[in-house]
């Protein structure tokens, strides 16, 4: 079974630029999560999708972050414009219906200069 795929693996941008991350969850997993992990901290949930609907985006900074999962499979997370404090690893995870365990992708390390 293929795992969660993410791209790119690394991204360096300057502040005020835009960036987008892509995630392909495990086949058949209805729930998809985006997390932000700042160095030295645990992952923090940004947004949770159930199929193509948003379940929880209470911690997503909506003035600059957006995410979509139009067909209920792949998802993109966008930051526009980026700030220095957005430097972090962005992790995507997926979960099958009824399961408690989430499976994580390799993450994208974003550096904002």
């Amino acid at each position: 079974e293929a795992g969660v795929a993410q791209s790119p693996r690394y991204k360096i941008i300057e502040k005020r630029q835009s960036v987008a991350f892509w995630c392909n969850p495990i086949s058949g997993h209805a729930t998809l999560y985006w997390y932000q992990q700042i160095l030295g901290q645990g992952p923090k949930l940004l947004i949770q999708f159930q199929n193509n609907g948003v379940v929880d985006d209470s911690q997503l900074p909506k003035d600059r972050f957006s995410a979509e999962r139009l067909k209920g499979v792949d998802s993109t997370l966008k930051i526009q414009p980026a700030k220095l404090e957005d430097s972090a690893v962005y992790l995507c995870a997926s979960r099958r219906s009824g399961g408690a365990s989430q499976y994580f992708g390799p993450g994208t390390r974003l550096t904002v200069l």
Binding site: V4, T31, Y33, G40, Q41, G42, P43, K44, L45, Q48, Q50, V55, D56, V89, L91, R95, A100, S101, Q102, Y103, F104, G105, P106, G107, R109
Partner: protein, 115 residues
């Protein structure tokens, strides 16, 4: 607000030592507690605990949950250099409702095992 606290924040041991990592939590509608191991990038799943007092075991790793005192421990015996990683504890809410499956993570314990 849900809260998960892990201790110690970091730990340095030598191969062969036994370590105990701690996780305490304050959450509404507790359902499960999960342990993950994070090397380099993606956390990988270790254990899920839902019932008090029942030990989960996998090789040299074991974990137990105390729902009365709101904590869990992760034990690693006969540590190896390959055990060096960040160990994350996360708790999930009760089943039902739209928050099902949402995890709140602790800050992690950095374990370093020297040869």
């Amino acid at each position: 607000e849900d809260k998960v606290v892990q201790s110690p924040l970091s730990l340095v041991v030598h191969e062969g030592d036994t370590v105990t990592l701690n996780c305490s939590y304050e959450v509404t509608n507790f359902r499960s507690l999960l342990w993950y191991k994070q090397e380099k990038k993606a956390p990988t799943f270790l254990f899920m605990l839902t019932s008090s007092g029942i030990e989960k075991k996998s090789g040299r790793l074991s974990s137990i949950l105390d729902k009365k005192e709101l904590f869990s421990i992760l034990n690693i015996t006969a540590t190896q250099t390959g055990d060096s990683a960040v160990y994350l504890c996360a708790v999930g809410p009760n089943a039902g409702g739209t928050s099902y499956g949402k995890l709140t993570f602790g800050q992690g314990t950095i374990l370093t095992v020297h040869p």
